[in-house]
């Protein structure tokens, strides 16, 4: 087995690279994507091995502490699922090439889940800084009493949706990581790999991760930007740390699979399940995330029914209600206790609206893709012409639905005292996210006239007002220590003005005239 040399861009210290590449055996057969472990440098000297060009391409926008790496070599195939004999003959435990890809992709999910966990920390830090600033920074009002920013509805609306997102994302990713680890444990245990090959579980996890990594990282990027803007000129100070949080986070929308490309992969699985449902075949969703497709036609016949914004946001406690989630593949069965009938009603409206959206977007995407195939386009080109407004939107709606389902289940397991607080954050996130999909809800006939947009947006604003007195405590719980947060605007002591002044007076040389002052004074003076 041989591979042509390629230019590698790598960290200046790594000794091995993990490379995903097409495997072409001496007989010219392309066996598809495989993982290779490639030695790059001598671990004792950090000199590169002969024939390799290894180097650093230069400074980046952020993530300055990390270099990326790749490389080439011929002998280091990761051979859990496939191998090449010394005679150059390819051997795999899988019969279908697409299954090999799936097994290789399983390994990539861990990195993407790590990115999502990291993103949760980034959004928690960003909203922690912006909310603490909003609670202490006063602007306008009367000369006698200026008003804290957090009192302004516009400021609440700009930030509170992102606070809710950080709560929901944290609950989602904690829960989802557990499910993922159980799947990996099962796959790595004594059970035969055939079971893994047969199962759709790995594919479903891959679809979940491939849709959620883009949705989360894009949301967190918007959050970091909004938090910076909401802190005004002070937010533009480097010591506010919002610039670095944004720039260091930003790479996540590109690496470990560019977000737009990952959306395509998630859509593949979703459309396969939709195709099965249309053909009256079983939907192969072992984790149950799209089990509802079996009743897709009924769902699409639903209409928006709320009559007042209270229907969309109430959290009063009336009765008990139980939602049950099955994970047949894992043998897990979760019960969610929802204590209040009105909360259930609101949650039901949010989740059923999401299910309607998924069915609608699946139908639109599927129909357009099939009609392009029928017109003679290749699968590749038909897919490329189905991304905008459809395929990509579909996968992002799916990811938001997953975040809602998994966080809801988590809330059901939390202490009773905590649940009402978390439920409000859940409702705000759900409604605030649906606000971004109103066009599709109108376009597809789920609603018409002013009712839906008016009620939903009113509920969002009312919820913002409702949670105002809780958000500071929430970001205190979400945020890291002052040392890690590292922001002059977001210290936990709440002494914004004093901290800013101290920063200002202690800025080295900041109060002296510039050392080069003579260079800018006209000579005649």
């Amino acid at each position: 087995m041989k591979m042509d040399s390629i230019i590698v861009l790598t960290g200046r210290t790594c000794t091995h690279a993990l490379l995903f590449a097409q495997l072409i055996t001496p007989d010219g057969t392309n066996h598809g994507l495989h993982g290779f472990v490639v030695p790059i440098r001598d671990p004792a000297t950090l000199e590169t091995y002969p024939g390799l060009i290894v180097g650093d391409m230069g400074e980046k926008i952020g993530v300055h502490g990390i270099d990326n790496g790749t490389g080439y070599h011929g002998e280091n195939l990761l051979n859990r699922s496939a191998d090449v004999t010394e005679e150059g003959v390819y051997e795999s435990k899988f019969s279908e090439p697409s299954r090999i890809l799936g097994a290789a992709l399983e390994n990539l999910s861990a990195g993407r889940i790590g990115i999502m966990q990291e993103s949760c920390n980034s959004i928690s830090s960003a909203v922690c800084i912006a909310i603490r600033y909003a609670a202490t920074r006063q602007q306008f009002g009367t000369a006698a009493q200026e008003i804290p920013l957090i009192e302004y509805q516009l400021h609440q609306w700009r930030l509170f949706g992102y606070v809710a997102a950080s709560v929901v994302f944290k609950l989602y990713i904690q829960n989802m990581t557990q499910v993922y680890l159980k799947v990996v444990e099962k796959s790595n245990s004594g059970q035969k790999l055939d079971n893994l090959a047969k199962s759709e579980t790995v594919s479903e996890i891959h679809a979940m991760v491939s849709s959620s990594k883009p949705m989360m990282t894009w949301t967190v990027l918007r959050a970091a930007q909004q938090c910076r803007e909401a802190c005004g000129g002070h937010g533009f100070l480097k010591r506010a740390n919002l610039g670095d949080i944004r720039s260091n986070h930003e790479a996540t929308v590109t690496y470990e699979g560019d977000n737009s490309v990952l959306c395509q992969q998630a859509g593949n699985w979703l459309l396969r399940q939709y195709g099965a449902a249309c053909a009256a075949q079983p939907v192969d969703s072992p984790l149950g995330t799209v089990a509802f497709l079996q009743r897709g036609e009924d769902i699409l016949a639903e209409k928006f029914q709320a009559r007042a914004s209270d229907d969309l946001k109430t959290t009063e406690i009336n009765c008990e209600f139980v939602i049950v989630i099955h994970y047949p593949y894992l043998g897990v069965r979760c019960q969610i206790l929802l204590r209040s009938q009105p909360v259930y009603q609101t949650i039901h409206i949010i989740l059923s609206t999401y299910r309607w959206l998924l069915c609608y977007l699946l139908k639109e995407t599927h129909d357009q893709y099939q009609s392009l195939i029928a017109s003679g386009l290749t699968k590749f080109h038909a897919k490329a012409k189905t991304q905008v407004y459809k395929w990509q939107t579909l996968t992002q709606v799916y990811a938001e639905y997953l975040a809602l389902m998994f966080s809801l289940e988590s809330i059901g397991r939390k202490e009773k005292d905590l649940q009402p607080v978390l439920e409000k954050q859940f409702l705000l996130y759900g409604l605030w996210s649906l606000d971004r999909h109103l066009v599709e809800l109108y376009q597809g006939g789920f609603a018409q006239g002013e009712g839906l947009a008016k009620l939903l947006r009113r509920a969002v604003l009312e919820l913002c007002s409702d949670v105002k007195n809780e958000v500071v405590s929430i970001v205190d719980a979400l945020g890291p220590t002052d040392f890690v947060l590292n922001s002059v605007l977001g210290k936990s002591d709440g002494k914004l003005y004093q901290n800013l002044q101290k920063e200002f007076f202690h800025n080295p040389g900041g109060l002296q005239r510039a050392t080069w002052w003579r260079d800018v004074v006209p000579s005649k003076l």
Copy 2:
């Protein structure tokens, strides 16, 4: 006259600051916002004057070459419109306080127009880099022939709207600057200030600038971000220059009036005109930007009528058509020749949809504001509770409408050969911008069912495909020289891969192992 000392944050070299502050005379009367010129440092030594604390607050996210400045002092009132006698008596040429504010604000418009011009350069550079990269960077397709990114519909959609925005913004701001300069010329000429005071022209300019600066700077910020993402990992390299373009541009959404605050000011004037129209009084719009409010009720009765996406995007030439724009205050009368009936029809649909949106958002904003006033809220609090989804959206729609009207007029004056190219960019910008307001169009009953969203979005995608072969030439015309563009991804020679490789090999020390390599090698090796 005396003012309390304040801490000033300033550049390390500026000798004078222009300060806008409340003027309070010895008798305790507050005369409102006035401009002051404040000496800060001795121009000969750059030492600050006694009693002043002047310093630099530290590093920022971007705009590293510029410090901001302000200061205090008592004697330096800018006294074109008002003065204080030596006995401390206030004298103004204006009788109404709000007019004084307007006169002071006129001076701020120049800075904001400068920001818009600068923003046009930033978006032109960003799209120039991203489009050249898209045209040369190949990904996926077959092993024999990879496909340039620009061929992918998703990639076109991500970028081409921003190309159209840079064309429209440039035409808009050039035209608007001329109008502004004529107004300033007239205001500074021999004519009495009473004329200025009486006229609404300064207020209309202020509303135009206060809505357009937010709309443009936010759009350019999204453009810079999208361009970075569309260049993937290569865009994340510092030498791509997209990070610096974004970070240096970013301050514009905050300075010279935070965008959210400016939107409030623009809305004040718009709502005053709407109020006049509702009361069957003349709309005082000397530049004619909201003259259509006189027939607001007829406009609100209109419905979406296009039946095919061709109705929304065609540029075929059929006949001549003339739009006339009056600037009564300036005595200017512009004729726009539109050569084709279908283009006119599309332009008509876009502009009339914008006028419907403006009338609808004015009505919604006005009604909510008035009902909050009726419920007992102060003007201040009623306004604060009318920003989200209403007041702010209204001003952004107004700014987009202005960009369309002023750029359309510019196109009418361009060379005949150029007009078809510019018209297509105009159509794309108009439809792509309307796409962001579909919810309001559905909510307000302008349309129902799938027609509007489906046709408009199809037209956007078809236009993207139509302009694909023109965009490289357009960004060549918009972009600066290679030296100014300063991007390894966007050189005008189109040799992307060679330029990247050269950059890589010439990165100082990039190919050597790190100097600190011994520190990371375990001692036992």
